[in-house]
C-alpha cells in the first residue's frame, strides 16, 4: 500500500531539537556533570553521535519489527517441520529472510543519517556543512560552495546506496537465475 516502508511515527521530534536537548540540556543535570561520562557529554562530537544514534534507533527498531513480521509464515512452518525451533529457527530461517526484507528500507535510513550529520555543525562541530557555512560567511560565494559541498554529499550517499545495493545483490544471489 504505502511504498515508503514503515511509517516514521516514532521520531516526530526534529533532530536539531534532540541535539540541543542533549548538548545544552544534559549539563543542567548536576549528577551527570560530576560523573565519568561528562568528559564525553561535554564534547559536541559525542553529543551529536548520541543524538543521531537515539534518533535512528527508534526507527531502526521499527524496520526490524516490520522485516521480521514480513517473514512468510509458511517458511517458518517449513523450518519447524524440519525440527527447528528456538534460536536455531531464528538464526537459520527467520533472521536471514528478515535481513533480506529489511535491507532496502535500512539503506534509505542510512542515507538519511549521512544527511543528518550536517546538523552537528550547529553545535560547533566543523564537519562538512560546518566548513561550508564558515566559507559562505567569509567569502559569500554561496553557489560555488553549495555545488562543491552538495556534490560531496551526493557522492557519499551514492556510495552508500551502491554499497547497500551490492550487499543486497549478494544476499539475493540465489534469485539470480530468476532474473536472468
Amino acid at each position: 500500500m504505502d511504498r515508503e516502508g514503515p511509517r516514521r511515527t516514532v521520531s516526530r521530534h526534529p533532530l536539531l531539537l534532540q541535539i540541543f536537548l542533549i548538548y545544552y540540556g544534559l549539563g543542567q543535570i548536576a549528577p551527570l556533570r560530576h560523573s565519568a561520562l561528562w568528559p564525553f557529554l561535554r564534547e559536541p562530537y559525542w553529543c551529536a553521535i548520541l543524538a543521531l544514534a537515539l534518533n535512528t534507533s527508534a526507527y531502526t527498531a521499527e524496520i526490524i519489527r516490520g522485516a521480521v513480521q514480513a517473514v512468510p509464515a509458511h517458511e517458518i512452518e517449513a523450518g519447524r517441520a524440519c525440527g527447528m525451533s528456538g534460536f536455531l529457527l531464528r538464526r537459520r530461517i527467520i533472521w536471514p529472510i528478515a535481513l533480506r526484507q529489511g535491507l532496502a528500507v535500512y539503506g534509505s535510513e542510512a542515507i538519511l543519517m549521512i544527511k543528518a550529520t550536517s546538523l552537528a555543525s550547529i553545535i560547533t562541530l566543523t564537519e562538512l556543512t560546518g566548513i561550508a557555512h564558515k566559507l559562505i560567511s567569509s567569502t559569500y560565494r554561496v553557489f560555488e560552495i553549495f555545488i562543491v559541498t552538495g556534490a560531496i554529499y551526493l557522492a557519499l550517499t551514492f556510495l552508500m546506496s551502491t554499497a547497500f545495493a551490492l550487499f543486497e545483490r549478494q544476499l539475493h544471489a540465489h534469485h539470480a537465475h530468476r532474473r536472468a
Partner: protein
C-alpha cells in the same frame, strides 16, 4: 527567589508561554507554506519526470536527486545567503549600493518547499503511474478535454493514491522548519533556545518545545488521517 516551572511557562511577566505559542504559530505557518509550495514544485517535478522528452526527464531527475541527497540545512543556507547575494548584486548594479537580505521566513519557506517538492515529486509520480489507464480512456471516450480529465479524474485519483505518503512528507516539512532557526527565524526551536538561554533552563524549554512539536505533529497527522480515510472510502468493499 527563582521562578517555578509554572511561572516560566505561564503567561505572566516572567512567563514564556505567549512567546512559545507565537513561535509555534510561526512553525506551523512556515511548515504549511513550505509544504504547499512543495506541492507546486512536486507536481512540476513529477510532470518533468513523466515527460516524453528525455531532456525534461533528466531535469526532473536531477531536481529530485539533488534536493533529496543534499542535507536540508545546506539548502537553507543556499536560499538564505544565495538569495541575499543575488538581491544585493541586482540592487548594486541597479545603482543602490549596500548590502541587502531577504526575510528569513520567505527564504526559509522556499528552502523547505524545494526540498519537500523533491520528495513530493516522487510521490506524485508513483501515484500517477498507479492510475488505471482504462478509466482515463473512458474519460477521453466521453469527450473530456485534457484539462477536464486532469481536474475530474486524474487529479482526484492521484491525490488519493499519494495521500498516505504525503502525510509522511508533511511531518518531515514540519520538522525541517526547525532548521530555519539557524537563519534567525523565531520559530519554536529558536524561541525555546532564547528562553533556555535567559533562564538557564535548557532542559525544561527544549523538552517543552519537543512536546509542542509532538502535539502539532499528532494533531495534523490526525487531520490527514481523516482525509485519507475519507478519500479511501470509494475503494473499500
Amino acid at each position: 527567589m527563582t521562578p517555578g516551572m509554572f511561572d516560566l511557562l505561564g503567561f505572566g511577566p516572567q512567563g514564556w508561554g505567549l512567546p512559545l505559542l507565537q513561535a509555534a504559530g510561526i512553525t506551523i505557518s512556515a511548515a504549511l507554506c513550505g509544504f504547499l509550495l512543495g506541492s507546486v514544485f512536486g507536481i512540476g517535478g513529477a510532470t518533468l519526470k513523466l515527460a516524453r522528452s528525455p531532456v525534461l526527464r533528466l531535469i526532473g531527475q536531477a531536481y529530485t536527486t539533488i534536493f533529496r541527497g543534499v542535507p536540508e540545512i545546506l539548502v537553507v543556507y543556499l536560499f538564505y545567503f544565495g538569495g541575499s547575494v543575488v538581491l544585493t548584486t541586482l540592487l548594486n548594479t541597479g545603482g543602490f549600493p549596500g548590502f541587502y537580505s531577504l526575510p528569513s521566513f520567505v527564504m526559509g519557506v522556499f528552502a523547505v518547499g524545494i526540498v519537500s517538492g523533491a520528495y513530493q515529486a516522487e510521490v506524485y509520480r508513483s501515484a500517477y503511474l498507479r492510475l488505471d489507464r482504462g478509466q482515463i480512456e473512458a474519460g477521453a471516450s466521453c469527450g473530456m478535454s485534457k484539462f477536464l480529465l486532469l481536474r475530474r479524474i486524474i487529479g482526484p485519483q492521484t491525490l488519493r493514491f499519494a495521500l498516505p505518503a504525503l502525510g509522511n512528507i508533511w511531518q518531515s516539512a514540519l520538522k525541517e522548519t526547525s532548521l530555519l532557526s539557524v537563519i534567525g527565524l523565531t520559530e519554536l526551536l529558536r524561541q525555546a533556545g532564547t528562553a533556555a538561554g535567559s533562564t538557564r533552563q535548557p532542559l525544561l524549554f527544549y523538552a517543552v518545545a519537543a512536546a509542542m512539536f509532538l502535539v502539532i505533529g499528532r494533531m495534523t497527522g490526525a487531520v490527514l488521517g481523516r482525509m485519507e480515510n475519507h478519500l479511501a472510502k470509494p475503494w473499500r468493499r
